[in-house]
């Protein structure tokens, strides 16, 4: 029992010798995220306005290329169609890009004090979640002005958001747990994300492909998620709950696996990342 505590590294109050409440790392997570967001904002002249400007620029680039140059937007509603996909994709992409090597970039801290390794990718996830909230709100306002207002299917929106959060957490945890051992994965991740950007049905609808190929697209969970957003926000339809449930189940499995690897190799990471 005694060695058990030492192994799991539960914090104890310095003077009482009793474990601190388990919420310690949770409040540390919130505080660290809050500070990181502030530090990030304070680095630029426009401050936190960048959280709005940056996604607008990001979407603007793709709008110019695919909406204007390639004239993909034959349909009248191509702009909301494109932006809806990009909004969801950007959340997925930016969290994974910075979360996959979260343990590695904190090597100095890991070598100085014991912190559960799952803490580091979690900070990235919460950080990007807050930034996505801004994007989502702007997009909802845009839809109102565009003439695609609220409808009853918005009831399903929180469920889609939760499923996407689970998917992001699953991918980030799993990658963050392996990347310290095989840093080469980071290179692959960057290209895989670029490839997935074009395979996620952001610039086109999967329906426009021959039927025998469509099934392959759905191996990519982002396709189902982006379609669900579009169903609710653009077409006032209920999303396909079956495919969302499958994505959620697989994501939870990835979260558990990633968390297990991180706790299993908790004291091995400091040796590997230094």
């Amino acid at each position: 029992m005694e060695t058990e505590i030492a192994k799991t590294g539960i914090l104890v109050d310095p003077l009482q010798g009793k474990p601190l409440p388990k919420t310690h790392y949770f409040s540390l997570l919130l505080f660290k995220t809050y500070l990181d967001l502030r530090a990030e904002a304070s680095r630029t002249y426009l401050n936190f306005l960048w959280w709005i400007v940056e996604p607008v620029l990001y979407m603007g680039v793709f709008y110019v290329v695919f909406g204007l140059m390639f004239k993909r937007g034959d349909g009248p509603d191509y702009v909301p169609f494109l932006l809806c996909g990009l909004m969801a994709w950007k959340w997925f992409d930016s969290t994974i890009r910075s979360g996959a090597n979260a343990i590695q970039v904190n090597a100095a801290l890991i070598g100085q004090v014991f912190i559960p390794k799952i803490f580091f990718p979690s900070v990235t996830i919460v950080h990007n979640m807050v930034k996505f909230a801004f994007v989502l709100i702007i997009f909802l306002v845009f839809l109102q002005y565009y003439g695609l207002g609220w409808n009853i299917t918005y009831v399903a929106l929180p469920a889609i958001l939760v499923v996407q959060l689970l998917l992001i957490a699953g991918c980030t945890f799993l990658l963050a747990s392996i990347v310290p051992f095989i840093p080469d994965i980071m290179q692959v991740v960057n290209y895989a994300l670029t490839l997935l950007l074009f395979l996620s049905g952001i610039f086109y609808s999967v329906d426009s492909f021959p039927e025998q190929y469509q099934a392959y697209f759905y191996l990519n969970p982002m396709v189902s998620i982006i379609e669900a957003y579009r169903d609710v926000m653009l077409y006032s339809q209920w999303p396909d709950l079956t495919s969302l449930s499958i994505v959620a189940a697989v994501s939870i499995l990835m979260i558990v696996t990633g968390a297990w690897i991180m706790s299993r190799y908790e004291r091995v990471y400091p040796r590997v990342v230094l």
């Binding site: 104890v12 310095p14 601190l20 540390l28 530090a39 100085q112 004291r267």
Partner: protein, 233 residues
């Protein structure tokens, strides 16, 4: 002072590192081979040994950062951490935010750190600068803040890798004095140092580590004399 049971016990502890050398080649080396020691409540245990003897790795085992590959490490839940200055500092944040963050990383709650803020500001002599971003600080100011936080947030078992005085001459004297006060107090301390005068002054017992194994553990004078003798040609 050294009553009854040790609070932390290491028995025949070894740490093995495995390093990649090529695509499929791996090599292993032992950073620690056979370390045994006892740490009693309230004592100050000195650690001596040559370069590369494994002193820093030993501190990492005691602070729970690394896990022994072999041997037995017993700690019934006391929090031990290394005295590190400027732990987790983010240069774009104010001194106050960094102090709280650093303290929380060391296991203090946010409220505890808020309560200690006045003492930190006073000790670090930062005055109004505490609410300025750390990136605007001079090296000395940063070191003073780092030291003040480390002293205020120090845990139950404090692991010190060489006593460091920081800052200018007057703050150096003050910080060394503060550290000595902390060591002499009821706190349990493991002190790694090459300064034998300081060890004779502060330590209750000394462990001598050589070739990644415990060579000798005992009273300060006895161990230090043997250690010095072994160093002479």
């Amino acid at each position: 002072m050294t009553d009854s049971e040790p609070i932390v016990k290491l028995e025949n502890v070894g740490v093995c590192f495995s390093q990649r050398q090529g695509l499929f080649k791996r090599s292993t080396f032992w950073a620690l081979e056979n370390i045994s020691l006892n740490l009693y409540h309230g004592e100050t245990l000195g650690v001596v040994g040559g370069n590369g003897a494994g002193k820093t790795t030993l501190l990492k085992i005691l602070s729970g950062i690394l896990e022994p590959s072999v041997g037995c490490y017993t700690n019934p839940g006391f929090r031990a951490s290394m005295l590190t200055l400027q732990l987790g500092f983010v240069h774009n944040l104010t001194g106050r935010d960094n102090a709280v963050l650093s303290g929380m990383l060391l296991g203090q709650t946010r409220q505890q750190m808020m309560a200690k803020m006045d003492a930190i500001v006073e000790f670090s002599e930062l005055a109004d600068f505490i609410d300025q971003p750390v990136r605007t600080y001079s090296t000395g100011m940063r070191a003073r803040l780092g030291f003040s936080v480390a002293i205020e947030a120090s845990p139950d078992i404090l692991l010190i890798d060489e006593i460091l005085g920081v800052g200018d001459t007057s703050f150096r004297a003050k910080s060394t004095a503060a550290m000595k006060t902390l060591i002499v107090s009821d706190r349990t301390v493991v002190l790694v140092s090459h300064n034998h005068a300081i060890m004779r002054e502060l330590c209750d017992r000394v462990v001598w580590i050589e070739n990644r194994s415990t060579c000798m553990e005992g009273p300060v004078d006895e161990v230090l004399t043997a250690y010095v003798k072994s160093r002479l040609p």
